[in-house]
């Protein structure tokens, strides 16, 4: 299993468009991917669970993945978050 820690910087947090992009990307991988917000876990492929996790701007989250493509999955999700979901700033 691999794990990385990231900060969500978008104004709306991990909701709305960023959440949709995040889940869409997660779904492209075989691995099981979890997102952890201070102890609360959610399936990264479930839009409802991700929304309900309440990840606001500035929240630190831990992504973990388990499966054959776990490293690729985490790299791709990391890139998406670090590019600020393609939004300015």
């Amino acid at each position: 299993m691999s794990e990385i820690e990231l900060v969500i910087k978008t104004k709306v947090g991990l909701h709305a468009r960023p959440a949709a992009l995040f889940v869409q990307l997660a779904k492209q991988f075989q691995s099981e991917i979890q997102i952890n917000n201070s102890g609360k876990m959610a399936n990264a492929k479930s839009i409802l669970s991700v929304l309900a996790l309440g990840v606001y701007q500035g929240t630190k989250v831990v992504l973990s993945a388990e499966g054959e493509d776990e490293n690729e999955a985490l790299t791709a999700l990391k890139e998406l978050i670090e590019s600020n979901f393609g939004e300015p700033e």
Binding site: Q24, K45, L48, L51
Partner: protein, 577 residues
């Protein structure tokens, strides 16, 4: 015969049968099942049907320019429909508790909706509604309930509903609509704006009594007076029908002359322009003879979505509209949000009195980033075009200066970035707050033009909520106090050599045209279907005579007296359209 009073939300008269737009109740029994796998299989079969239904609604929304923004909502719902956790929980519930698919789905939906609602902001409340939307869609398929609330709408009818959302109106065949009547809603609600754009009558806020009218029963929908007449007697129908027929003749004649200018018999020419709120509206305005746009509402870019529109997105939308009008003027009103129009993704705090709160220019000045994104997009798109920038909700001189300072900043940035933009454009304000009207002589020095917003000016002057049917009489723009303010604003602007337009409902009111010509209004901006008729009326007026008439009217003490005076002196303005 029985009269129900609501708010006149869109002018005109409709006579015809009622069609109740009903959301079919989803009813089912919760019960135990013996074979959980069979229940799960029922769901597996229903899901692709739900998906193709939603995809078709999404395509529909995406391809209709008036609903493109809403398409995003259906896209989000498609993602939820495909949520693995949701359906795993449903399966688990069926397997563990041996309950039927319907109960399992509705329980899991409730669980998620509650979780989202607990997060206590509008964005999550809207997502909770999405969860119910998708679970209801699947439930309907399982229960064999039709997806279409307009099934059975085969003759032109008066559509009655609790309230209509954009996603409802997308799917209504407009050729089957005589008019709209909603139990909730107001003159500014979605249905009202839609109806005005279509040139159909609408009454809003009529209360739950209208929901009890039977399908097929005849009603008269009087959008001018906010009235629904149930089971009208023959004499009433005849009197309305006569007015309707007369209006039809006038409308057709006016339409054939729509492209001709509005010049009075003594040679005074005024500008007749359109209120529009999207690209589709722009095309329509041109067909109705608009000489430009007096009010481009920009909210369409911001509403019914989950994030702010980017500069590029706005640039493309504005450019499309500006290009359609070529050298004709387009007055772009900067973001007018707040009040009854909220943007859930901005997370604005709840206000006790949103109409008196942080809205429109006030909001833009505390959120300069949002404001600048819009101004930059507008200036860039206005390159080589005849654009004018207008700030809404101005109360003080310092607000105008602050707004203009942000405009200057944007210009400087664009110069530095080497991006082309409209460098020569007028800047004006909406006069809709009494403070601005009273100080119009001062504010006129700071701007190039005024546009009087009569809807808000009436409600603020009369201290009467225009969304409240019980005080509708007070918000009437024919109230002497409102007309006096309008007159004062026009005079003050002219003393400083500035022009004055009007973009409130009063500008498209036939009976007001003689008075406004008499007061010297330079530009009339209205919903497109009214343009030909107002032009036609103005062509029959003598401006110097109207000046005398306006002076007499301003000396009267009630809206009724004023309207009576105009009807007597200018009978051709007394039409029902």
């Amino acid at each position: 015969m029985n009269e129900i009073l609501g708010i006149g939300a869109s002018r005109g008269i409709g006579i015809g049968p009622v069609f109740q737009y009903k959301i079919t109740k989803i009813e089912f029994e919760s019960c135990k099942v013996e074979d959980p796998t069979a229940e799960i299989n029922r769901i597996r079969k229903a899901l692709p049907v739900a998906q193709s239904q939603l995809e078709s609604v999404y395509e529909h929304a995406k391809n209709d320019p008036s609903t493109q923004a809403e398409a995003e909502i259906f896209q989000a719902q498609l993602m939820m429909l495909d949520d693995p956790e949701f359906w795993q929980q449903v399966d688990q519930k069926i397997n563990d508790e041996y309950i039927n698919a319907e109960s399992a789905i509705s329980e899991v939906a409730k669980h998620y909706a509650e979780m989202l609602r607990a997060m206590d902001n509008e964005y999550f409340a809207a997502r909770a509604a999405d969860v119910f939307d998708i679970s209801n869609r699947v439930l309907k398929i399982l229960l064999g309930i039709s997806d279409s609330p307009t099934e059975g709408l085969h003759q032109p009818s008066v559509i009655i509903a609790q309230d209509l959302t954009p996603s409802d109106t997308i799917l209504i065949d407009k050729s089957m609509v005589i008019g709209f009547c909603t139990a909730d809603g107001s003159a500014t609600s979605h249905t009202a704006i839609l109806a005005r754009g279509l040139g159909l009558p609408a009454v809003a806020g009529a209360g739950s009594a209208i929901l009890k009218i039977h399908d097929g029963e005849n009603v008269i929908l009087d959008g001018n007076n906010g009235l629904v007449i149930v089971e009208p007697d023959d004499a009433t129908i005849e009197s309305y029908q006569t007015r309707l027929n007369a209006a039809q003749v006038i409308k057709e004649k006016a339409l054939s002359n729509a492209k001709e200018p509005a010049v009075t018999t003594d040679g005074v020419e005024v500008e007749i322009v359109a209120n529009i709120g999207n690209v589709e509206g722009a095309e329509k305005a041109i067909n109705f003879g608009a000489e430009g746009v007096g009010l481009l509402r920009t909210e369409f870019l911001y509403l019914e979505r989950n994030n702010l529109p980017s500069e590029e997105e706005q640039y493309q939308a504005y450019k499309k509209i500006f290009d359609l009008f070529g050298n004709h003027p387009v007055v772009l009103r900067t973001l007018d949000i707040g009040g009854d129009k909220e943007l859930p993704y901005l997370d604005m705090p709840k206000e006790m009195n949103p109409f008196l709160g942080l809205r429109a220019l006030r909001l833009c000045l505390v959120e300069p980033k949002i404001f600048k994104t819009q101004l930059r997009a507008a200036l860039r798109a206005g390159k080589g075009r005849n654009i004018k920038i207008m700030f809404p909700m101005v109360a003080t001189l310092s607000e105008i200066r602050a707004g203009k300072a942000v405009l200057e900043e944007c210009k400087n940035e664009l110069i530095q970035e080497g991006k082309p933009f409209a460098d020569d454009f007028e800047v004006g304000i909406m006069v809709e707050i009494p403070a601005a009207a009273v100080s119009a002589d001062r504010l006129a020095r700071e701007v190039d033009f005024f546009s009087i917003g009569t809807n808000d000016l009436s409600q603020y002057t009369m201290a009467a909520d225009r969304t409240n049917p019980t005080v509708a009489g007070l918000t009437n723009a024919f109230q002497p106090a409102v007309l006096r303010l309008i007159n004062q604003v026009i005079k003050a602007a002219h003393q400083h050599g500035k022009w004055v337009g009007m973009c409130g409902e009063l500008a498209g009111e036939p009976l007001a045209a003689p008075l406004l010509i008499g007061m010297g209004l330079d530009e009339f901006s209205m919903s497109s279907p009214m343009i030909p008729v107002i032009k036609q009326i103005i062509r029959g007026l003598n401006a110097s005579e109207m000046k005398v008439l306006a002076e007499e009217a301003l000396d009267l003490d009630s809206p009724e007296e004023i309207q009576m005076l105009v009807k007597q002196r200018v009978p051709q303005a007394d039409i029902t359209v």
